[in-house]
Amino acid sequence: MAEIAVASHPIDAVLRRDRLPHIWCPGCGIGAVMACYARAILESGIPLDKHICVSGIGCSARVPGYMNLDTYHTTHGRAIPFATGLKLVNPELQVTVFSGDGDLFAIGGNHFIHAARRNIDINVFCVNNFNYGMTGGQAGPTTPMGSFTTTTPYGNVEPPFNLAALAAACGAVFVARWTALHVRQAQEAMQRAMQKKGFAFVEIVAPCPVSFGKSNDIGEGVDEMWMYRKQCVVNDDADVTKIDVTMGKEAELVVGNFLDIERPAYMGYGKEVLGEA
């Protein structure tokens, strides 16, 4: 049984086929993460017209352009406020913010903190590739110390954010970290995030071979995937404050669904105080 050449794929049902192939580089992990999101949508049991995908600016923020849903590509860093407005106006919607680490944690860092604090009922899926890939590989708030980027030619001297710890500390009710290799687990985490009432955060570490892998002696996208394969440790009970991503050659990369708690979501407050509109 040799392979059979065909023209369409099962997840084309939620993709804008006329936009494919997408702009991401060979070896980039964003496509695999978008496939997780597409499959999570198909298996969520929620009608497609209730799913909303919002993004800011960046490589990962191109995802809404390829999803055949109601999608919004907003200004840099402002995906979360936009999503907050959508959710407040129409609480029936399943609002997902899908963006990158720079957009969500540098330009939009304050919005993330306060949306988590308020426990807005949205899902935030962050593709973390440790740099600003679209603009040429500059260092960002998640660039590991010592990493070489175009703006840190002698190695990054700033300590990076630990996104899982940040989300947990700010009040998120569901926090997970997976990699672009852990596609099944990432998809399951996304489905759990969709079911969760409150601010759910899933970080997906993904290779950026052109802007990050090449200058940090990691190699191609598939080499970074092998790095995840060898160095990832699944530990759902890990202390989120102690699981920084260092991307060291021998360092453990702890992944898992770290936090799943209950806390009143912001959505449950309006009608009690204001009554029916």
Binding site: A2, A5, G31, L181
Partner: protein, 103 residues
């Protein structure tokens, strides 16, 4: 005789090991090798020819016909949505019974 001594699960006769059929959309592939490297049964290799973009897309390796177990890992890890598997038409219903194997 040697096969008769192999340990087999007690429910081996009832376990269904599916066989997959690989489908490929060659022109979507960008040659990242994720599917080839991470196929648990090493079913895939790079093609000899290239697609319209100049990449070597995955094909079933010589001699690996019927090895795909339809785990669908390639389906969900492919960043280009260029490969998927489905259960093959002639997928076996169950393993051969123990008695048949030992003969």
């Amino acid at each position: 005789m040697a096969e008769a001594l192999l340990r087999r699960p007690l429910d081996g006769a009832t376990v269904h090991i599916p066989r997959g059929q690989v489908f490929i959309i060659p022109d979507r592939c960008k040659g990242c090798d994720f599917c080839i490297d991470f196929c648990p049964r090493d079913v895939l290799v790079e093609s000899q020819t290239t697609n319209t973009k100049g990449y070597h897309y995955p094909v079933v390796a010589p001699g690996k016909d019927g090895e795909c177990a339809n785990c669908q890992f390639c389906t969900i890890i492919c960043p280009e949505y260029a490969i998927y598997t489905e259960e093959a038409q002639d997928s076996p219903e169950a393993n051969p019974p123990l008695a048949e194997v030992s003969q």
